[in-house]
Symmetry: C2
Subunit: 113 residues, 2 copies
DNA sequence: CAAGAATGATACGGTCCCGTAACAATCATC
DNA sequence: GATGATTGTTACGGGACCGTATCATTCTTG
């Protein structure tokens, strides 16, 4: 529960982290993709396409396509739900966890300056 | 100079702000565009295409195109440099300042939770 | 003033994401 | 078991961004 950042601190932090991501040229995730990834890793499972679409306020094809592209990158994986085979369960991966760990380090370090 | 955020705090903050931007469906700036905008508003002028390209580690056409699209949105404006008419000076606008002010509020508020 | 360097813009072909509308598979209900 | 609802996926046309190469304009240097 940190104290709220001041306006100047908030913008500087946002700038610094964004700049680090641009220069890395490896975090080529779109805003929506990044949000999906973080939601899956931070909130409790299960995560279905429908739930994610509702949470983000976007259409289902947006989620499907994001899962396609992030699945290729192995940042997330899909599995059919055996209880209800209409559902798809979105699951975490080792690569995804490492990716977010690295992101957290970047944010954490830059928030100190 | 706030204390560095913990890993969990950093990711939660990043998630919350990203989620707010996705749901707003108005912050449709790419990562590079956002970084350019913040650089122009946070760092001291003058800002030329060449300087911005070097700072972000991208090619000049990337900057030119970003200035085109953000110029249409009136988040930034361009002016020729009278001292050296090869240069283009990137300048702030009222709309851009309001946009970032709103962004800072979002970040600041979410960093409190 | 002529030749070269520097700056920003443009052209081209390609890739990715978008929104909408249809679709196949699975479940629920009667 | 047939009908309708639900879930996720695919199809299609369109728009935005990318990287590279090339260009016009302006300055610098001999």
């Amino acid at each position: 529960m940190p104290p709220g950042l001041t306006t100047a601190q908030a913008l500087k932090l946002w700038h610094d982290v964004n700049l680090a991501m641009v220069r890395d040229a490896e975090s080529d995730l779109s805003l929506r993709q990044m949000t999906i990834l973080l939601t899956v890793y931070l909130e409790a499972p299960p995560h279905t396409v429908r739930d994610l679409a509702a949470k983000l306020g976007v259409s289902k094809p947006v989620i499907t396509r994001a899962l396609d592209s992030m699945g290729k990158l192995e940042l997330l994986s899909r599995r059919r739900d055996d209880k209800d085979r209409r559902n798809v369960l979105v699951q975490r991966t080792v690569k995804g966890a490492l990716y977010l760990e690295r992101l957290a380090d970047t944010i954490g370090n830059l928030s100190k300056t």
